[in-house]
Amino acid sequence: MISNLFSAWCADTLQTAVKSGKHTPFGLSEEAFAESLEEVVFFLGSKASLFSDPKFLKEQPLVKEFVSFLGKELPPWMDGEKNDTKTTDSMSSSDEYLKSVFASHQQGMLLGVHVLIEEAQKLVELVLGVKPVRLHVAKAPKAEDAKHLLKELRQAYPSSIPLLKTDTSLLGGARLFVGDSLIDHSWVTRVHTFLSALS
């Protein structure tokens, strides 16, 4: 999914550059931008997965810009601030794509959003070295509460794209994953701990 968003973002970037007549976005020279764009387009067309060549991703300046875009653009969608945006002709391809993805979020189809965010986290980790942050909660919080939780997570882990996921198997409480580390305050773990203490 992140490949599709990246493709859309590349198209937007090129379109913006053409429209503005300024062919040097992100402080890159015209040649560097053209070369990077060509390589990225070739890469997206030839590779089955965006993560099949981590070295390429780390070295490409456009990928770094895309990661920066993700950090800025994904949170408003996750917070539900842009979900009501009307589709217009002037809407960018990336916004259109995000709208389609987060529309399913509003309808309760969370899988697409979760996959997108997890892939975004993976890309951010690969390029910036920021560990993915995932908060699993036993019950989906209200929209306002979810927004507040995500805001607090972003403040606690800057540059990260936190994922809030409902996991009813926790029965109660929550779990926070930061990279490989885990802070576990779930009821299911308390039950297991209690039973272990019995034995």
Partner: protein, 168 residues
């Protein structure tokens, strides 16, 4: 003298008698008495010799008897000693066999005890595991089906507050 004469005894007769007696005495002495004495002496000597031989034999017999008795005693002593040794050896062997059997029995009993302990521990462990699994199922069932949604919501908020204390 007349009386003698009436009896037919006169000097000549007496002399004849005397001469006759002398001859008889000489002949008797010469041919009977001496050989008889010699025979008697011989017999006496032979008897004495026999007695001496008998005495010697008696002494030899006594000595032999004593030697035999001594040998017999020595043999009996040796026999007793050997018997005692055999008894002790047999007792030692018996003790060894008994000790080996006891050790084997102890080892067997220890192994059996250990096996029983292991089985017991396994049974206890299995029962505990089964019990825990049942407790777990009941607890999870209660938590899943019987806890109000508000309580779960509250637990999320509380958990987040606790997580923030650790992570933020």
């Amino acid at each position: 003298m007349d009386a003698f004469a009436k009896l037919g005894i006169d000097g000549w007769s007496i002399l004849l008698y005397l001469v006759n007696f002398g001859i008889l005495l000489f002949v008797m002495r010469r041919f009977v008495y001496r050989p008889l004495l010699s025979f008697i002496d011989g017999r006496r000597e032979m008897i004495a010799q026999s007695v001496a031989e008998a005495e010697s034999l008696r002494k030899e017999f006594a000595q032999a008897t004593e030697d035999h008795s001594r040998q017999n005693d020595a043999q009996m002593l040796e026999l007793r000693t050997k018997t005692e040794e055999i008894k002790q050896h047999a007792q030692a062997e018996a003790n060894k066999v008994i000790e080996a059997a006891r050790s084997e029995r102890e080892a067997l009993m220890t192994a059996t005890r250990e096996e029983l302990e292991r089985l017991k521990a396994n049974i206890v462990k299995d029962v505990e595991a089964e019990l825990q699994e049942k407790i777990k199922k009941v607890l999870l069932l209660i938590l899943r089906d019987s806890v109000p949604a508000e309580a779960v919501q509250k637990s999320v908020e509380n958990a987040w507050q606790d997580i923030k204390k650790v992570s933020v």
